[in-house]
Amino acid sequence: MSNHSCIEIANEWGIVSARQAGRELSKDIGFGSVDQARITTAISELARNIYLYTEIGKIDLEEISDNHRNGKARGIKVVASDKGPGIENLRDVMVDGFTTSGGLGAGLPGVKRLMDEFDIESIPGEGTTITTIKWLR
């Protein structure tokens, strides 16, 4: 793929660079301002989770295209992965208002609503990988 970048999230500034990279890439792909805001907000949530709950992780951003859809569709794929403690109960974290950090508990369910596709894989003690996609309409 032509456009691919990877941002390490080790501190709060990593979050800022991740979403700046996300905003640029989504602008390049051709997303409008509302979708750009949705994508950057989703990246911000994912990156913040890495920062809050794990030592280190990364955000991968990639431009993707899919020929199976009607014609050729373009989109952005955001993959957040870490080697943190993992998530014990995946059903809980997808419920609005569930939080272990005292936050609003809208992060992950919010990301799912902001993006088109959302997939989460987590093994307790080994880490978490969240893959999300937004298609350009």
């Binding site: 709060e12 907000t41 911000s44």
Partner: protein, 282 residues
């Protein structure tokens, strides 16, 4: 006692200046803010660097450092990057080494080249140390300046204050916002605080969480928060995220917010009727 190498360089100063200057003529000295620099500025800078290095040959380390310090201050002020200066010093090493190998036998050459290395290491250390120190100072000053700008509170009318937020909100800044809000409310005896987020690039759950907490605290000290400057795309992401701002009075622009704040403090903006003139205006 001056080392043999340095004495050798002083004795053959003109020869080395010429050789060295030619060797890094190809090298482009760059500046951080612009990619294209006029040739004459490049040449000036190279000449100056050459004279700094050769003028300080005769000095002791202390006075040399002072010269380097002044030189680096200028470099930083004009935005030059240190790496090319280091690279050109390495070119000088090659030139002097080559000469030394011609003039002296093998054993002597080993001694002399280590002398040269020592001197060069000192130059590079001084240059980079000064650069780093200067950058640290600049950073510290900017940090203070940034902190002063990070959460300003502006009294606009009696009992009404505005906090315009611009840029990214991180944890540190969030606590700064809270502190300034509460202190400002007491100081200005404010009843209504307008938080303007026109300049905030994105509102995620953390930013929303901090704003909600700040407004709770504001309520506790007896004032009220109005959230203004919510751009359409921010409104949509807030809804997508499922953040409940139902307890907030929100307005799209600061202007509307000020009008509401005036109403809340029982005041109104009125337009004076046009003064009646004797038909002079048409």
């Amino acid at each position: 006692m001056r080392s043999i190498v340095l004495q050798h360089m002083i004795d053959n100063k003109d020869h080395y200046i010429e050789q060295w200057r030619v060797s890094f003529d190809q090298l482009l000295f760059s500046r951080s803010e612009s990619t294209i620099k006029p040739q004459y500025i490049q040449d000036e800078m190279k000449d100056e660097f050459v004279s700094v290095i050769f003028d300080t040959l005769t000095m002791d380390r202390h006075s040399r450092r002072a010269v380097v310090k002044r030189f680096v201050e200028r470099l930083i002020h004009d935005g030059w990057i240190v790496s090319e200066f280091i690279m050109s010093l390495q070119k000088l090493r090659r030139i002097v080494m080559k000469d030394l190998s011609k003039h002296y036998d093998k054993d002597k050459f080993v001694d002399l080249s280590s002398e040269l290395e020592d001197w060069l290491d000192e130059q590079i250390t001084d240059l980079t140390t000064e650069f780093a120190k200067n950058h640290e100072e600049v950073k510290a000053i900017q940090k203070v300046a940034l902190k002063e700008l990070s959460a300003p509170l502006i009294p606009v009318f009696d009992k009404i204050v505005v906090m315009p937020l611009i840029g990214t909100i991180d944890t540190k800044r969030a606590s700064q916002i809270m502190e300034n809000l509460l202190e400002g409310i007491i100081e200005h005896r404010a009843q209504v605080v307008l938080i303007d987020i026109t300049g905030v690039p994105l509102v995620d759950t953390m930013v929303a969480h901090h704003i909600i907490r700040a407004s709770e605290a504001v309520r506790l000290v007896g004032a009220e928060c109005l959230l203004v400057g919510i751009r359409p795309e921010i409104a949509q992401t807030i809804v997508n995220l499922g953040i409940d701002l139902g307890n907030f009075t929100t307005k799209s622009t600061l202007k509307k917010g000020v009008e509401t704040a005036l109403q809340m403090t029982h005041r109104d903006i009125i337009t004076n009727e046009e003064p009646v003139t004797g038909g002079g205006l048409k």
